[in-house]
């Protein structure tokens, strides 16, 4: 299978290599976790301070998109090999949903 985890317990894979990979993976996870908490703080600050909605709303939307990226690529391992087909279908779904929302907000509601 193409999408096996790197630390799959396959005895043929060198234990040192696997340990190093796992450590690297762990570091990414911790870093992205810290980043996500930081971004959440920034979002709260942006809302808490009385800045114009024209700045706050797009700003926190961008932060939200970045967080989704972290979630998918570092926590859910989409950065690994063998996730091309799920990624394709995920982005197709996002595309269809986006077109639908775009149509709703532009030609139905406003």
């Amino acid at each position: 299978m193409a999408n096996e985890e790197l630390n799959s317990g396959n005895p043929k894979v060198d234990i040192e290599y696997r340990r190093r990979k796992s450590a690297e993976e762990m570091r990414y996870q911790v870093v992205s976790f810290a980043m996500m908490i930081f971004l959440t703080f920034v979002a709260f600050i942006a809302v808490g301070y009385d800045i114009s909605g024209w700045f706050t709303i797009p700003f926190i939307l961008v932060l939200a998109i970045i967080q989704v990226g972290f979630q998918l690529y570092y926590f859910m391992h989409m950065s690994h090999k063998g996730h091309e087909a799920p990624a394709l279908f995920l982005y197709s779904g996002v595309f269809v949903a986006f077109i639908t929302l775009l149509a709703f907000v532009t030609i139905i509601w406003w």
């Binding site: 269809v96 639908t100 139905i108």
Partner: protein, 621 residues
């Protein structure tokens, strides 16, 4: 399991089909159920044409006409065309990619039974106080005003059968991604498999909007919601958008597999490799992609404004490009080929001009300014019957003749097949060609009668005569099927003699495990390559070993039955006190059987190597 070759009683066969998880048997179930609903929808079509044959006719009343018209459209799209397409996908696609079954055999069975119970539920409306009467699009402002339970049957029935379709689509996607035989790369997949793949992706993205729309409608009609009620702050246009976000991809869901079947037919009976294979794949994907950006062309006259109309108009016209690529590729496949005019090939050849005519009127309708003239007239009726009958129904009939031997091991009679074809072709053009002009002369769609003296009389009569030709063609087809089953003359694995893809390398019908050894695929048209090198069968890619098979299960039937019961409860809960208990009992059946399925380990069984070897000695399996 060495009992499969023995003679079985009627009860045992019935139980086998009720519990089967074998993709080939589920294909037969889809074929029978879809064929039945096709006949029901056809009967409704005949009633429509009889009513409209002469001006001022009173064959049916206005109210009943609305019901017949609605049920004709709904039945033909959801209960005839979709399941018949699924029948061929199930029967052929796993064989084409060299798989032993689909990825989730249990879900495959569940998908069928959900469709079946949804369809039965919808059609029970005829006997329980009247069918839905707001058109197959069931626009909210009309359907919310509809009295009785007709629309509730529509909403609940389609919700159940739609869930089945979604399950089927996901199943095919996973199968094609994960279960291709060694060497079967994406760009070596036969075109029918490719169109199944793209269609399944369209189902995955198009059916959720329908599910949402139907749920909103369900709440509006039965549970006091106001999503589509402008008086309470709702918006009736939302239904139209949600419906067409589903509805436009839906027509590509129907027509892409039809393109796939025709691609196979052209290559087989021109005895040539499909011309421009990679551009065909590209065009298929592009049509699927563009299909999601054009839905509002069904709503040009709703008042979207000139900018939205222009965008959707241009996007719609763009679809003519990939479709044109396909048409030319089929023509070039035939060019220089050694063509055999078999029944499937006749359907394929007739499809090209017919579908192109439908495409041309499609581009005309895509122009928003012109559409204001054509909208809601018989011109539109003529257009979509040209693409759906000329594309989908021709493919289903051609595919039926082509794949009948693979599904049942016997050949349909060619002479009767050609009679069916000619009657159907003549009848079809007689019925619908003249409707273009009826539309241009101003005859509106969906009217139950018309007055004489408007110039509509003669054309409507011609149209009705054509419909009778198609009815006779269908009867000849049924006679052909009965005769073929009665004669039961078995044929070999490659009865057309020119099979190119993997399914023709197997016996007809294939053994229940499909491939004793998975085949090694060495290029496009894998079986043809082996034939050209003088090999009688595929080169195996693995030694003979034990084959793991799933056990039959009655659970899918029970889950679907539970939803069927729950739907009655939901529908009658406002006027009968038993409604809510029945709803709860139905859902308990559903979740209980799901729970049973989850906690009971079912590991399937193995066909052992020795049994497979025995089959070799005993002749054909």
């Amino acid at each position: 399991m060495s009992t499969y070759a023995q003679k079985k009683g009627v009860g045992a066969v019935l139980w086998d089909y009720l519990t089967t998880v074998d993709h080939k048997k589920i294909a037969i179930l889809y074929l029978i159920a879809g064929g039945f609903f096709f006949l029901v929808g056809g009967l409704e079509a005949m009633f429509i044409r009889i009513q409209l044959a002469v001006p001022g006719n009173d064959f049916v009343s206005a109210g009943v006409y609305n019901e017949i018209l609605t049920m004709h459209g709904t039945t033909m799209i959801f209960l005839a065309a979709m399941p018949l397409i699924f029948a061929f996908m199930n029967a052929v696609m796993p064989l084409q990619i060299g798989a032993r079954d689909v990825a989730f055999p249990f879900l495959n069975s569940l998908g069928f039974w959900l469709f079946f119970f949804g369809g039965v539920f919808l059609n029970l409306s005829w006997f329980l106080g009247g069918a839905p009467d707001a058109g197959w699009t069931s626009y909210a402002s009309l359907s919310l005003a509809s009295e009785g339970h007709g629309i509730d049957f529509y909403v609940l029935g389609l919700q159940i059968s739609g869930a089945g379709t979604l399950i089927g689509g996901i199943n095919f996607l996973v199968t094609i991604i994960n279960m291709r035989a060694p060497g079967m790369t994406y760009m070596r997949m036969p075109l029918f498999t490719w169109t199944t793949f793209v269609t399944s992706a369209l189902i995955l993205f198009a059916f959720p909007p329908l599910t949402v729309a139907l749920f909103l409608m369900l709440f509006d009609r039965l549970f006091g919601g106001n999503f589509f009620n402008p008086d309470m702050g709702g918006n009736t246009i939302i239904w139209e958008h949600l419906f067409w976000i589903f509805g436009h991809p839906e027509v590509y869901i129907l027509v892409l597999p039809a393109f796939g079947i025709f691609s196979e037919i052209f290559a087989i009976f021109s005895r040539k490799r499909l011309f421009g294979y990679s551009s065909m794949v590209f065009a298929t994907v592009l049509i699927g992609f563009l299909g999601f950006m054009v839905w509002a062309h069904h709503m040009f006259t709703t008042g979207l404004g000139p900018i939205a109309n222009a965008i959707f108009s241009v996007a719609t016209m763009a679809i003519a490009v990939p479709t044109g690529i396909k048409i030319f590729n089929w023509l070039f496949t035939m060019w220089g080929g050694s063509i055999k005019f078999t029944t499937p090939m006749l359907y394929a050849i007739a499809f090209i001009p017919t579908f192109t005519m439908g495409g041309v009127t499609g581009v005309m309708l895509a122009s928003a300014a012109q559409d204001y003239q054509f909208h809601d007239s018989y011109f539109v009726v003529a257009h979509f019957h040209y693409v759906i009958v000329g594309g989908v129904v021709f493919a289903l009939l051609g595919g039926l003749h082509l794949y009948w031997p693979k599904m049942f091991g016997t050949m349909l009679n060619e002479a009767l097949g050609k009679i069916t074809f000619w009657l159907f072709l003549i009848g079809f053009h007689l019925t619908f060609f003249i409707q273009h002009f009826l539309g241009l002369m101003g005859m509106p769609r969906r009217i139950f009668t018309f007055n004489s003296g408007q110039g509509f009389d003669m054309a409507n009569m011609v149209s009705t005569v054509g419909a009778f030709f198609m009815a006779v063609a269908t009867i000849v087809l049924l006679i052909n099927i009965v005769m073929t089953i009665a004669k039961n003359e078995k044929v070999g694995g490659d009865p057309w003699g020119d099979g190119r893809t993997l399914e023709w390398a197997l016996p007809s019908p294939p053994p229940f495990y499909n491939f004793k050894q998975l085949p090694l695929v060495r290029g496009l048209d894998a079986f043809w390559i082996e034939k050209m090198e003088g090999n009688k069968e595929m080169t195996p890619a693995e030694p003979i070993g034990d084959i793991h098979m799933p056990n039959n299960s009655f659970v899918p039937f029970v889950i679907s039955l539970g939803l069927f019961i729950a739907a009655f409860g939901a529908m009658y809960h406002n006027e009968h006190s038993w409604g809510i208990p029945v709803l709860i009992i139905g859902m308990l059946v559903v979740f209980g059987s799901m729970f049973f399925r989850s906690v009971k380990d079912d590991h399937g069984y193995h066909i052992h190597k020795e049994e497979l070897m025995d089959d070799d000695k005993g002749g054909k399996a």
